[in-house]
């Protein structure tokens, strides 16, 4: 006996029903995949690698915020507590004091405090710091690089396309896990890595 090999014609109702089934399957699968990928991959944020940064001073002006989210931070474990701090004083400063004309910082964001002869402590006022990195350049050129720049996440909007990263001449900006959003120096770095 011969089988009837003729294909049964698909009517419009079946066609729409099957189409809806396939569309629903793809949608549910896609959403499940998206949710799974979101839950398994950590959120990433922007950060400036101080070991690559060349202190071009563009972080101060390229951020979308009115005051850049990039600020100078200080590794106290590395700092030499120098009387003649090349991050605080102008290169040709006539005297080592807190006179505005001797200070390197254009916004006066660094405070110099006497510790004991001949040591001084330097503290960054983040409200005043504009992230120009002028002090960082002075410190890294003549000192040991205890002053460096970091993107502060209490201010950063974490834009998809960071305008500072896009224009960074040394490609020092990278995405880092939100759970470890800073790239620190000195003993602070070791403590930070240990959590």
């Amino acid at each position: 006996m011969k089988k009837d090999r003729r294909v049964k014609p698909v009517n419009r109702r079946d066609f729409i029903r099957r189409g809806l089934h396939i569309f629903s399957g793809i949608t549910i699968g896609g959403l499940t995949g998206l949710l799974f990928s979101k839950s398994s991959s950590e959120e990433m944020v922007w950060q400036l690698d101080p070991n690559i940064c060349v202190q071009c001073e563009k972080c101060a002006v390229n951020c979308v915020l009115p005051h850049s989210s990039v600020k100078c931070v200080h590794s106290y474990s590395m700092c030499g507590y120098c009387d003649l701090c090349s991050g605080y004083l102008q290169p040709g400063a006539k005297s080592r004091d807190t006179g505005a004309e001797h200070q390197l910082c254009p916004s006066g964001a660094i405070t110099r405090t006497f510790v004991e002869e001949p040591y001084f402590q330097y503290t960054i006022d983040e409200e005043l710091c504009i992230g120009c990195g002028k002090c960082v350049k002075g410190c890294i050129s003549f000192g040991n690089g205890s002053l460096y720049l970091q993107n502060r996440h209490d201010r950063c909007l974490n834009c998809n396309q960071c305008s500072i990263a896009r224009l960074c001449p040394s490609q020092a900006w990278k995405r880092v896990p939100a759970s470890r959003p800073y790239i620190l120096r000195g003993d602070e770095s070791q403590r930070y890595q240990k959590g």
Binding site: E57, G80, C82, G133, G138, S141, G143, N144
Partner: protein
């Protein structure tokens, strides 16, 4: 009928168009110029270019030879009793002849940050916190005990009877005998004796022995070279801060120094990378190599001298040993 009116209208229209074009060209050009100028000017620029030119008319030496090194990290140099050159880098030390050919090479357990060679050809290598001694770079003779976990050895000076090791971690100089037994700790702060101690903000702390056998050390935070008696008491010191050529620049210089046979000092600095000569009294004499000879970011110019008083400068950025000789026509060479 007034035929003049259309002519006047055309004149006025033409004038308006002309003025508009001139205005657009003027203001547009000015805006472009201002924008370009604004982009070129950097209000936050850290500028030390003026200081780099200081002393350009006082250059007494010229580079006569350059030995390129096949090393990832060049760390220290020393000259042996027969003018052979010892170089440390990565995790080994090698001896080179005058032409730069490798005579011998030995691996070390870690990076060697400072080197010294005695009159017998024994090589003293300062690893992070201890000294290892090699017999002419053939075999390891001994490995000395570390004075502590905090130690960061940065320089070794050899006298006929003792070895002095600068420790930037503990801010002292350790005096050992040649067997590696610790004899003395030099340079601690002592207010009763008015000894202020070493201030070493960055890990550059050099020591050397002068022709009279006295120990000298670079107190970089004070911008001075300090002289000690054999018992470790401070005898004298000289040096001052200045961004100009006469002094030591930045927070902490000189990073390295050597003493020539006639007792003059050769110093090197960071920040403004420059190599200079001072007489026995600490008075500036001349420039061996100015900042124009080094790339930006050059730090750690280790120095050595051979028996003909040529000055060897280790350039860690260009990964080379650069040899400088006094210019025959230098006015101050007498």
């Amino acid at each position: 009928m007034d035929t003049k009116k259309p002519k006047t209208d055309r004149l006025i229209t033409g004038l308006i168009i002309f003025l508009s074009v001139v205005g657009i060209l003027y203001f547009g050009g000015r805006a472009i110029y201002e924008n370009t100028r604004r982009n070129q000017e950097n209000p936050f620029e850290y500028d030390v270019e003026g200081f780099k030119r200081s002393g350009a008319d006082r250059v007494s030496h010229h580079e006569v030879r350059r030995i390129q090194l096949d090393l990832e990290h060049v760390l220290a140099i020393a000259i042996g009793p027969n003018d052979e050159l010892y170089v440390s880098g990565d995790s080994f030390i090698c001896a080179l002849d005058k032409e730069g050919r490798v005579l011998n090479r030995i691996e070390t357990v870690g990076p060697v940050h400072c080197l010294a060679v005695d009159e017998n050809g024994d090589v003293y290598a300062g690893l992070n916190d201890h000294v290892e001694v090699f017999d002419n770079l053939r075999i390891k003779k001994s490995s000395w005990n570390s004075p502590g976990k905090e130690a960061i050895f940065t320089s070794i000076a050899v006298s006929p009877t003792a070895i002095f090791v600068a420790d930037a971690g503990n801010l002292v100089i350790w005096k050992f005998d040649k067997a590696g037994d610790l004899l003395q700790r030099i340079g601690d702060k002592d207010e009763a004796k008015d000894v202020h101690g070493f201030i070493i903000p960055s890990p550059y702390f050099d020591v050397a022995i002068d022709p009279d056998g006295f120990l000298w050390a670079a107190n970089t935070g004070r911008h001075t070279l300090e002289n000690f008696t054999p018992d470790g008491d401070l005898r004298t010191a000289w040096g001052e801060f200045s961004m100009e050529i006469e002094g030591f620049c930045g927070c902490c210089n000189p990073t390295h120094f050597i003493i020539l046979e006639d007792g003059t000092f050769v110093t090197s600095e960071k920040g403004l990378p420059r190599v200079k000569i001072y007489n026995r009294l600490g008075e500036f004499v001349s420039v061996v190599a100015g900042p124009d000879l080094f790339r930006e970011g050059t730090v750690g110019l280790d120095l050595a001298r051979d028996s003909t008083q040529r000055i060897y400068v280790m350039d860690p950025v260009q990964k080379a040993v650069r040899i400088f000789e006094a210019k025959p026509d230098w006015e101050g060479s007498e």
